[in-house]
Amino acid sequence: MKILATYNIKGGVGKTATAVNLSYLAAQDGLRVLLWDLDPQAAASFLFRIRPRVKGGGKALIRGSREIDASIKGTDFEHLDLLPADFTYRNLDLVLGATKKPTRRLARLLAPLGRDYDVIFLDCPPGISLLSESVLYAADGLLVPLIPTTLSLRTLDQLTEFIGSLDGHRPDVLAFFSMIDRRKRLHLDIASQLPEERADVAATTIPSLSLIERMSVERAPVAAFAPRSRAAQSYRDLWAEVRARVL
């Protein structure tokens, strides 16, 4: 079982769209996939039409008083399940803080799921917190969507530096450019230049397309409702690159 997390300190960079589409494409490949929507905003749960509610809330899950198994919901797609978000996830840092070895907590909770799943995606809320440290410890691969601006590159540097400072397990970082606006010169320049210079930046880029935004209307992965679109193809390319690199 491999654990992949979509993560960025910044919000609104396409983490959820990536997690939703890549988990769908992985399931389409025949892998058994679980997506855990860790963000209390519950966007991934919404996109799969699953109500963001977990019995006992995040506390019960993190403490282990309630089996993760019992909270998992099947999506409308074969081989793809979802562990929904819950509004109580906003307090996950506090709950984690009260456990022993909080940074290792997620990895421990997820380990038994290896029987049922080949890949677990973690869709993380933005920010650097105890939860993100626990995610970094659990993940085999960290997928970092970046908007091609100088500032977001600084964030990537900060992130890699932070990961470098961690003890023990460190995830393999793969950043990629997302929400690229073809009309912006700066976007195109950075998106073409950086993958050549840095090994941790993927060659695939995800353009800013209205079809991707339309996911919230269709409430489905773009590759499911518009499989022949450019948007779907971009995610397929990204999944192929991630799969070759991390799995």
């Binding site: 039409r49 699953i50 998992i72 919901k73 099947g74 399940d81 049922d116 409430r219």
Partner: protein, 521 residues
């Protein structure tokens, strides 16, 4: 992931209303139905062993072929399904011959050494539907199935649907199941097995064959009538196993055929005197011929079935070194089987079964007032029991092996009589007596089988010496096998005295007397 399975048979809709419209009407406003693709046509073959091992375990096995990859689907008693992709299969097949997968793993435990083969075939139109909640989220899947049975007869089955819950939505699916159950005339649950419906449509029923004797005698019936009923049942069993033996479907056909022959011979020998004169002699010879015809193939089957254990039990030699022996056994078996099949297709065999049936059906039921079934059974069983005791008591540690072999034959006679007349006795008391006898039989069987096998291994070895390319390691490995057989035989010999003492003990004697007093004469 799907769980919670529920099957519903739908009634024909009013004035030909399509089944999916009936469903939409049933679900009301809380759930809606959405199509999940165009209907597809699939072919189904339901498979079972000749003695219905799957059906007896409340399981069904289907091979489904159609536009999607071919699948084997094993449905358990609780409705849960195991599936495995499996194309280009041919039937009959032993579980071990199927491609690896969860269905094969489960099937091996269910079917054992028996092959599965189609018991019914059908063509179905399957329509997959999604059940959506008010968020338009799929909470359950419905597979709606219109099946036309093609074999064993042509028939159209009522539409049936299988409802399965999406993981985490069991409560919704249960609610849907309740709504569907309220459809007028719908029937839910295990009674809705499509295989049973397919068989019923063809005028057949499952479990119409069992290797057990299926005859119910009443104590008061005349002795000839009782014996006739037993012999006719044995003839049915014999004939039922002929086609499977000739087609060499699996080794149990021959086994069951032989059991029917041996029981027939014992019944003739031990009670045939109540039949009209000359019958016992005339048919006794023919059934001996038939028994002898089947022996060589069966002996080799026993070797081949026990081969994996024999090979695994080697200590000095390696299992692989025994491979030429295996090849030799297979070649011998193929040759013997040809002889057997020829014999079963011969005019002599068909004359035997035809004339035997004619004779049995034409037998008079005997005059009332003479010996009845219970009297005959008790008299013959008691006599056979006395013989076992007498011969067993005469055996000492110095007795030659032949004495034990003879005793084994007497035990078999007693066992067959007990089985033939079982329906006349209280089941529990009967089981206890059979259990006492079986222990002794197991010991004697082990003693003789091991001796026979030692001799046969030597015989095989000398045959193989004459073949080209048989390495010395193979013969050495066979030597070790023979040695192990010798040790096992000795163990059985050592255990005999204790086993016989048990059988002849006052407690066992008492159980026997209770049984014999148990019929109402």
């Amino acid at each position: 992931m799907r769980s919670f399975a529920h099957v519903v048979v739908l009634p024909a809709g009013p004035a030909g209303q399509p089944a999916d419209e009936v469903l939409r009407g049933a679900l009301g406003s809380r759930f809606t139905l959405a199509s999940a693709g165009r209907p597809r046509t699939v072919r189904r073959a339901w498979l079972d062993t000749f003695d219905w091992r799957l059906h007896r375990a409340a399981c069904t096995l289907e091979h489904v072929t159609g536009p999607r990859p071919a699948e084997l689907i094993l449905t358990g008693p609780d409705g849960a399904q195991l599936t495995q992709r499996a194309s280009r299969l041919s039937w009959p097949a032993l579980a071990g011959e199927l491609p690896a997968g969860p269905v094969r793993d489960r099937l091996e435990a269910l079917s054992g050494i028996r092959a599965v083969q189609p018991v019914a075939r059908a063509v179905s139109t399957v329509q997959d539907l999604r059940v959506l909640n008010t968020d338009a989220k799929t909470v359950a899947w419905i597979s709606l199935d219109h099946t036309a049975v093609r074999q064993p007869a042509v028939a159209q089955l009522a539409a049936r649907l299988r409802l399965s819950a999406v993981r985490g939505y069991q409560a919704d699916a249960q609610r849907v199941a309740q709504l569907l159950a309220d459809v007028a005339g719908a029937a839910a649950g295990p009674a809705a097995s499509p295989l049973d419906a397919a068989l019923a449509a063809a005028g057949r029923r499952a479990e119409d064959y069992s290797s057990k004797l299926d005859v119910h005698l009443s104590p008061g019936m005349t002795a000839p009538a009782a014996l006739r009923a037993v012999l006719l049942d044995l003839l049915d069993a014999l004939e039922a196993n002929v086609p499977g033996t000739i087609r060499d479907v699996d080794t149990e056909f021959l086994h069951d055929l032989r059991v029917a022959v041996r029981r027939t011979r014992s019944a003739l020998k031990l009670a045939g005197d109540v039949l009209p004169g000359g019958l016992r002699e005339r048919f006794g010879t023919e059934f001996k011929w038939l028994g002898d015809l089947t022996t060589p193939t069966r002996d080799l089957d026993v070797y081949l079935l026990g081969y994996p254990d024999m090979a695994a039990g080697l200590v000095s030699a390696k299992a692989a070194e025994l491979a030429p022996f295996h090849a030799h056994l297979r070649a011998q078996r193929a040759a013997e089987y040809r002889q057997l099949a020829r014999g079963l297709r011969s005019a002599r065999f068909s004359r035997l079964v035809r004339e035997w049936r004619d004779v049995l059906t034409g037998l008079s039921r005997g005059r009332p007032g003479r010996q009845n079934a219970a009297g005959l059974a008790t008299e013959r069983i008691s006599r056979a029991h006395r013989r076992v005791l007498r011969q067993g008591q005469a055996i000492t540690p110095d007795s030659p092996p032949e004495r034990l072999h003879d005793l084994r034959k007497r035990c078999k006679e007693l066992r067959y009589l007990l089985e033939i007349f079982a329906s006349l006795y209280p089941p529990r008391a009967h089981q206890r007596v059979v259990k006492d006898l079986k222990r002794l039989q197991d010991c004697l069987g082990e003693f003789q089988d091991r001796q026979v096998q030692q001799e046969e291994i030597r015989e095989f070895a000398s045959q193989m010496m004459g073949e080209e390319g048989v390495p010395a390691t193979a013969l050495l490995a066979m030597g070790e096998l023979a040695g192990r057989q010798g040790l096992a035989q000795q163990r059985a010999r050592d255990e005999f005295a204790g086993q016989f003492r048990e059988f002849a003990s006052p407690a066992s004697e008492h159980r026997f007397r209770v049984l014999m007093g148990g019929t109402s004469q």
